[in-house]
Homo-oligomer: 204 residues x 4
Amino acid sequence: MKSAPKSRTEANKADKHARILDAATALFAERGYAGTAVPPVAERARVAAGTIYRFFDNKEALVNAVFRRAKQALGEALFEGLDLEQAPRPLFDEFWARLYRFAREQPEAFRFLELQDHHRYLDETSRHLERTVLAPVAVMVLQLRELGVFEPALPVDVAMAFIWGGFVGVMKAERDGHLEVDQRAVDAARDMAWRSCARVQESP
Amino acid sequence: MKSAPKSRTEANKADKHARILDAATALFAERGYAGTAVPPVAERARVAAGTIYRFFDNKEALVNAVFRRAKQALGEALFEGLDLEQAPRPLFDEFWARLYRFAREQPEAFRFLELQDHHRYLDETSRHLERTVLAPVAVMVLQLRELGVFEPALPVDVAMAFIWGGFVGVMKAERDGHLEVDQRAVDAARDMAWRSCARVQESP
Amino acid sequence: MKSAPKSRTEANKADKHARILDAATALFAERGYAGTAVPPVAERARVAAGTIYRFFDNKEALVNAVFRRAKQALGEALFEGLDLEQAPRPLFDEFWARLYRFAREQPEAFRFLELQDHHRYLDETSRHLERTVLAPVAVMVLQLRELGVFEPALPVDVAMAFIWGGFVGVMKAERDGHLEVDQRAVDAARDMAWRSCARVQESP
Amino acid sequence: MKSAPKSRTEANKADKHARILDAATALFAERGYAGTAVPPVAERARVAAGTIYRFFDNKEALVNAVFRRAKQALGEALFEGLDLEQAPRPLFDEFWARLYRFAREQPEAFRFLELQDHHRYLDETSRHLERTVLAPVAVMVLQLRELGVFEPALPVDVAMAFIWGGFVGVMKAERDGHLEVDQRAVDAARDMAWRSCARVQESP
DNA sequence: CATGAATGAGAATTCATTCAT
DNA sequence: CATGAATGAATTCTCATTCAT
């Protein structure tokens, strides 16, 4: 539990840090890492350009910080307080709802995470986070397969990549104007995701 | 079929044009649009930097040309000579095989198309192409739905976005080292894609 | 003799002032004026960056203060309590020993004084000091010349410049790794300096 | 032997390279390395700022190039065509005259070489040059000592450092306004240098 | 007074584009 | 036409100085 803000100064400092990350997330999401200059980030964060370098060693450190915060936020949005004891389908539905909520509530972080032009600038810590944050999904998929709910031959890694990609594809299609993602569309995508994994009923 | 080369000069010219597009595709795919400088493109294409500007007005025109060629190549790879009269599942399997072959044979074009940091630089012609190239897929999905092979409630646009996204997700996972895409994985992904759309068998 | 410290506060203040000058001398000596940033000076002096500006108007004023203190320390080291009544050679030897002691005991001040990249920032007072501190040496040289110990045709200003330069050259050669300055080397240099001025014995 | 200029373009290129080195030498000599910004160098060389980076990787590479050219020019000025068979004193006088001519004809290179604030940026090649260029002087001093012209106890390295330092001290005193270096002064300094090394005549 | 976070002008460097050859 | 050296605006980053706390 965070204690009350220590002082105006410290609160302010944390604030600036967050404002810089917010601004960078939004601009990186919009224009890509290489396409974003530092001064616009500063301007959006309402700080001077030099201030960014008080918080981050360089642009690369900044993009790593943005990445980590976004990835961690995703992990929390997906798993914090998630009741793993539910029945498979309700569990899957809640997972999907959380995914969608994240994409809606933190669209910039979500979009940033899909982007790829910063991948070459991620350091080892970030790459490690990349690998771990979605690990619980792997466990879920594995269990559902063991339970006979999912296809027995379903490769876990392929399933995760396919479903995540499918969700991203739907959100991207919306951004590109090919699609409007309303509740009906989200539900349709969720059902596709489910069916893509679910064990096919044998006709008796 | 292309007509015979008019003259050594013209052949040479066409060659340079292609080399520039090849080089730009590869570098854009690797580093993103903003992350790629023009001189390295020239070097890789074995032409002088100035020569690029004889063929393309500026870097933006170049990326549009790259995009169009890649998108068109995708369209051709997917649909050229495709026998639409096949039974649904074989048709789907062939479609998937073609998709995979494109990703393997033209990895740079494929990767470039997934990238997003050039989207803001695409002109109207390119955006139009974006919308039309995959239109035949929409037709396919629609027909399969009408035939009762696909879920009757399946929204065509969501289905396309989801499946394309799923495929991209799998290929991306491979590039990110999360996955090795061998024939088994491709088939697994294909089956997921099919199941995600296929009408669920009612237990009688 | 300094009067007793007025109060804890004032003593503290004088202390900070001295620490800042020490830090600045060391860093200017090491990296040059333009190559030294102010914050590292503050850090080394264990004060805040802003504090430096309570004592000195700006970086230029700081370097002038550093220069004056160093130059004055040199003057004191060379002449304080020097017995001018000694015979010429012992006097010269003591002068040389003092010079060497200064270079060893206050290496940073000594090195700073040789450096030249701050000269353009010196103000009139500093430049005046530059001219006066070594004035006693001129007197010494002049007297020795009058006494017939030094060459009658020896130009005083050339002699001073040459000998000072020679000493600096030897210390610099040590810093550059061309030379190790032990007692033997110091003595050799002293003898060179003496001979360079001393009246040549006519062979009878 | 250099062949005639290959083409206007190549001549121009070599020209720019030289102009940049000239400008950098002058400005580094005047303001020091850290005190000199790149654009003024470009302006003085009548090229664009970016052009400097076509010839030199960065400012550090530039200062190394400046150093090498200056040091080599010094070596050539001192030793090219020098008749080592002359009698000791004439040889020494010619050496001194060459030293003085270099200081007068290439004052910026000479002053640059005395400066110290670029030493930390010199690379191994430059440092090596530093050590080798004046090696012939060591040989000269050694021989004169063997011949009994110089003091038998004279340490060669100290002698070189002292004499070089003495000469530099005289030229620096002129620049600082303490002295006017005319022929009489140069000769006086030369005689000091000679005496500083020469074997003292024993009174019989 | 002392602090040190913040500033923003200015530094080094890159790169899209031009143009003399 | 093709070239690639040259350009200079724009980019990343630094640092002397200020000022709220």
